[in-house]
Structure formats: structure tokens, C-alpha cells
Amino acid sequence: MSRIGVFVCHCGENISRTVDVERVAAQVGKMPGVAFATDYKYMCSDPGQTLLKKTIQEQKLSHVVVAACSPRMHEKTFRKAVEAAGLNPYLCEMANIREHCSWVHEDKQEATAKAIEIVGMLVERVKKNRVLPTITVPVTKRSLVIGGGIAGIQAALDIADCGHEVILVEREPSIGGHMAQLSETFPTLDCSQCIMTPKMVDVANHPKITLYSYSEIEQVDGYIGNFQVTIRRKARSVDEDKCTGCGICMEKCPVKKIPNKFDCNLGMRPAIYVPFPQAVPNTPVIDRDNCIKFKTGKCGLCQKVCGPGAVDYEQEDRLVVEPVGAIVVATGFDLYTIDEKPKGSMIKGYGEFGHGKIPDVIDGMTFERLASASGPTGGKILRPSDGKEPKQIVFIQCIGSRAREKGISYCSKVCCMYTAKHTMLYHHKVHDGQAYVFFMDARTPGKAYDEFWRRSIEEEEAVYIRGMVSRLYQKGDKIVVMGSDIAVGVQVEIEADMVVLATAIQPRTGADSLAQKLGISYDKYNFYSEAHAKLRPVECATAGIYLAGACQGPKDIPDTVSQASAAAAKVMTLFAKDKLEREPIVARVKEAGCVGCFACKKVCAYGAVEEKEIRDRQGNLIKVVAYVNPGVCGGCGTCQATCPSKSVELDGYTDEQIVAMIEAL
């Protein structure tokens, strides 16, 4: 006979406001098998857990049900407490009467009745729970970092400095990401290249870091501690081992006029190129869509001039499989393109403000390239249309961001600060120019941030106009910007030479397909979801995968670097152990019933089902049955629902347990 203990939590007032917790405890206490039932203000607190442990010992409880919040929140907490009291942790279940009951209903009577039923269901379930042993698996102490921007670089360096091997995968030909494109950074106006490029070189020189640039993640198998990652190394057409980075191929390439994406299409590059002079690795790549050799079969100049013979037109994509124990995802962001809907993106540009039609309406990143000393203009602020210096410049904030009706409701977080920076850079370079900023709110929380913003107004003479722009059109070589100043209540009209749009930050195009490969969740904008917004901000709900940088949400550089170091710390915590305990929620075959049809093997996505021969003492084969490798099993239970003879069972979710719950209703 089971002696079940039920503990009903008030959660302060979160549950007790709409659920009569005392009544729940009293009612459940009468159920067969329940030996003890009580309610308590905060079960998860130290006194709450002590009460739980003490009661288990005093009442000699055999099973425990904690009726409180979602098991996603505190199941681990209570299972740990139960274990400390000497009971197997899997004899403890949680009844979710907060997220699924008290928070979503108002009627106290109704909510209380529902709570009693929910707890009743779990009481019936827990009776069928079995003691499950913890399963230990080995940990591969190597880590994969996806994305070579500042987030990925920081995480890779931290992990590698701790002595663990790191595989850094970057989609583009060079690492550096968006930070390498920036001119100067707020709030200190450090030159971005000056603080970024040494880190890039550190990555290239680190003995523990293997850099796969121009590569993408093809497939991810396995689980925490034991992932198998297939990486596609795209054909570079240049042998990285042979190339010395002399650059003669780029000089001789006859194709010269290809817009360079790194310079926001302002500068030009040849068909064999490195995206920017400080690229790491400094190995060129052939853009096969624009190369004459690949288009017509003629040319081949680069191969002729290459001294070490590194140019290889025959090179093909290669697949590399790397075993790793942990994965840091740091894929960063894309800027919202206002004039078009990018392929694969679900957010449609709303085609306003003349972006894409008027050449002197540019976005913030293009302005960064104009202001950058290594940019296409050598750091001079010049209009893309005619190369003149703009004397009146208008910055418009919140393009796409905070526009619920246009598809993005969030704040992109960095635009207020980078626009303030832009006005300063502009004023430093065009002394007689005037900058205007149209803004909704200036959001400047952060160390020395508000001071920086104020400086742009008070010392650098930027004029801030609170209000949005209603119309913008070209008139001669000017751009007329019409808007309202809602602080004063007047209409404003500015004849500008150039307009800079602070477009929203959104996840990388294709972020969702990478998430599907990794098995991590993402929100409706495709930002990756952390396991808990406050308490587990760098971990994914999927164990062994961590997040860093803007792929999780808009972030500035200090926040990105902090999160990257935090993710690295999490990886190192994981690697501190030689063996890893995993949840024993795995499938088990009941060999007596198994007929060896292997329907389970066909549906198993993990390849965990093996064939096992059963022989008698003379060694004669009796039958072949299925065997589930507990180290490989993912624990989805698809095999159990598929098995025609019901001979495979998922521990923790057995038919018995589920039917008991259904019957309790």
C-alpha cells in the first residue's frame, strides 16, 4: 500500500488567491493511498523543502506529489529534496495548479474543483511510478561554437583558455561578424576594429581552437555531452593550407565591380576576395556566381599568378563530423530590410521612407561603413549618390521596431545609442553640418549611456525632435523630410542631404532552420528561447546547448560579451565532470513479448534500437529482439506508441501511468 504525501503550495498568493488550497489538501487527503496532505505558503523555499524532507521521514512516505507551479519550473528542485530525504527522485511528481489553473481562471470554486482533479490525477499517476536509477553517460570535453561574431569569439576564447578544444564554425569567409563592420562603439567611441581584430587573431592563433570559416552546420545528432555535428565546409576554391594570403590573385582578377556585402554594397570587390583586409583567415574565396572561370570556363588568371598553387577550381564541399559535448549558438542578427521581404524571412518590409529608391536614404550599418576608417570612403561621410558631403542629415529611429502593426513589437535596444553615436561621428567629421534625430523615446539604460546620449545633444549639437516622420520625398538633390514635433506641437520640414534609418534588429534569416537542426525552441520572431527568462538566460531548454548574443534577442556589445562569457562558464561547468547524469526517461524492451518486428527501429530518430540475439545455453538462437541503448535513446516514446505487441516501455511515461491518469478523471 502506498503512503503518498501531498503538499499543496500557496505560492505566496499566486495560487491561494484563486484556489482554496486548504480545501484541495483536505479533499486529496481523503483519496485512497494518500497518507498525508498539507498546504504551505512557499513549498520551494528552504523551510518548505525542509517540511517536505521531514514529513517524508516522519510519515514514512512512499511517494510524493507537490501541487504547485509548472514542473518545468521546479520539478528538479523537489526531486532533489525528495532524494535528500532518501526517496528515489522519480517517485515525486508535480501537479501544475499555477500556470494551468490559478493563473488562468478567476472563479475560485471552479479553479478549486479543477485543482483537486489535477492533483487527483497526479496521485493516481505517482502510485504507478517506479524507482528509476540514474543513468550516467560520458562527456566529450570539446565544444562547438556556431557563429564567429563577437559573441562566438568571446565564448570560444573563454572555453579554449580553460584548456578545452573548441570548434568555431562561421558561415562567412571571415570571422568578425557585425562588430567588424562597425566604425566606433558607444559609449566610449573606441574604434571597433582596434578592439575586435586582435581577438580575431587570438582565435586564429589559439592552439585549442579549430576554425571552420565559410562553413555551415549540416546536421546535429546526439545529446548533451555526446553530440555528433556534421559541418559542411563549403568549397572555397582556395586551399587554406597552401594559401599565404599574399593577395596577388585579388589584384589580378579581371572582375572588379562586384558590390561588397561587407561594405553594405558601397565598395566593390573582385570575384576572388576576402571580405575586408583584416579578415581571419586571410584566405580568399572565389565567388563562383561572378567568376569568369566558373561562368565561361575561360580566364583562370588567379590560378596562374598564385605562387604556392593554392587556387583549386575543382574543390568541392566537404562534410566533416565532429564529436562535441556542448554547443554554444551565437548566430547574431540581421538588420530589418525595410524595402523588401528577404528570402526566408517572415517579416515584410513596409516599403516606406524611400529606402531602396532614394540612394541617399541609408540604414545605420551603411552609415557605420561610411564612418569607418577602413570603409569605402576612408572614413569620410559622403553621399552614396554623388559623393558630396551632406550638410544636413536626418536620423530616423524605430524603423520597424516598436511598430506592432508592421510586425515587430519589440524594441531593438541599441538604436537610440548608436544614433547618438552617429550624430557625434557626423559632427566630428562634418564640422559645419547639422544632425536632426526624429525619435519616439530615447532609451539609454546602461553604464555611462545616458551621459553619452546627453553629450550628443549638449556638446555635439544634435537636434532631437520627438515625433515620427510622416512623409519623405526627393526634391532636386535634397530629401524633404516632413514630420511633427509633438513636444511643441508643430509640423517640421527639413531639407536634408542624407537620411539614416535606424532599422530594427531581427534574427538571422534561416535562424529557424538551424534551430530545427539543433532541436531548440524559438519565439515568433525566430529569436532563440532561453530556458528561463530570468534564472537560466543563457541555456536552452535542450540540455547541452547554450545561447550567446543577439540570436536570443537584441543586445549591445557589452551584454553580448557578458552572455558569451556566461555561456562559456556553463560549458566549463559541464566539462568539470567526467560523467554526466541524465534523466532515466528512456525506453526499455520487455524481451518476453518482443517478436522482433523492429517497427520501433524504423521510427526511432536516434538510431537507439539495436538487434539483440537471445540464445539458449547450447548457443542455439531462440529469437532476435530489440534492445534500446539507454545512452543514445532520446526518450520521446514514439517506439512505445508504435510497438504492436506493447513490448517497449518508456520509463516515466508507461501505459500504466497514463491510463491511471485518464481513469482518475
Binding site: C101, W103, V104, S521, D523, K524, A641
Partner: protein
């Protein structure tokens, strides 16, 4: 958000079979966002929709459920790679069988609700509750249970004939 509460003559019993990664988390999100929905639904958590045996749906109807909801991750988003695809295929076949047995398919709903879709969870639950409430209680299995108070004696001529032939 204190909406007018209307009392209904019939409160249907809805059982939801959901996966822990997407829909259960989505329902949690509805809670943390303090959205409101009818209290008729009871949630059973599974690791994956792939674990849900169609027999559970039948069992739920037998146990007096008036409506059943099965919900998991969107196609392609399965935490276990492909469990939801197996579920989808299985339930497509199972629906036909259920229809053949005589269960009104309107009582059974499949949906995809992700961890970010608290609002969709509320919509799905509210809609199904309203629909089933209008349909009234599910009586077929209860009637069957009454009919099947079988004594164990072979009393029809066909059964007798079959028995004698053995």
C-alpha cells in the same frame, strides 16, 4: 480582465494530450501571461506527441471525456527530431477508424501550439470547449457500457452455431 461569467447547463470534460516541449510550455506561457480560458480542460503531459498511443484517446472517450485535444510542436520543430510526424501520420489513420466506430470527429482536435504561442493555446482550448459544449455530452460509450453488461452466456443463434462448430 473580469469578464461576465455565464453559467452553462453543460460543462464538457476536455482532455488534452500535449507534448512537454511545445504545447505544455505554451500553456505555461498562457499562465504566466495571465490569459483566461475555460476551466474544462485537463492536461496530460507526454514527452512527445509521438508517445501518444491512439488507445489513450479511445480510453479518454470511454472514461467520459466529451472532447479530446492532441497538441504538439509544429512540423519540423519537434524536440525529438520527428516524433510529431509519426504522430500526425498515426492520427490521420486513426481518425478514419474513429469515424468508423461512430465517434463524431468534431470532438477530437489536433493542433500545433509552440512554446511561444500562449495565445494560440487559449484560442484552441476555448474554441474546442465551446464547440463540444454546443454538441452536448458524449453518450455513445456510456450507452455501450450499459449494453455490455454481458452475462457470459452465448445467447444468439449465430454465436451458438459458431461455438458448436469449434
Amino acid at each position: 480582465m473580469h469578464s461576465e461569467k455565464t453559467k452553462h447547463d453543460f460543462e464538457p470534460k476536455i482532455i488534452a494530450f500535449v507534448c512537454t516541449w511545445c504545447t505544455y510550455a505554451g500553456a505555461d506561457l498562457a499562465g504566466t501571461s495571465r490569459m483566461q480560458y475555460p476551466a474544462n480542460v485537463r492536461v496530460l503531459k507526454f514527452p512527445c506527441t509521438g508517445r501518444i498511443d491512439p488507445v489513450f484517446i479511445l480510453k479518454a472517450f470511454q472514461q467520459g471525456a466529451d472532447g479530446v485535444l492532441v497538441s504538439g510542436c509544429h512540423p519540423g520543430d519537434c524536440h525529438y527530431i520527428a516524433g510529431n510526424f509519426h504522430a500526425r501520420r498515426r492520427f490521420a489513420a486513426f481518425r478514419k477508424l474513429l469515424e468508423f466506430v461512430g465517434v463524431d470527429l468534431e470532438r477530437l482536435q489536433f493542433s500545433w501550439v509552440s512554446a511561444a504561442e500562449g495565445g494560440k493555446w487559449v484560442e484552441v482550448v476555448t474554441e474546442l470547449t465551446e464547440k463540444v459544449r454546443n454538441m452536448g455530452p458524449m453518450t455513445e460509450f456510456k450507452e455501450l457500457a450499459l449494453e455490455e453488461q454481458w452475462s457470459g452466456t452465448i445467447d444468439t443463434p449465430e454465436l451458438k452455431e459458431a461455438y458448436n462448430a469449434i
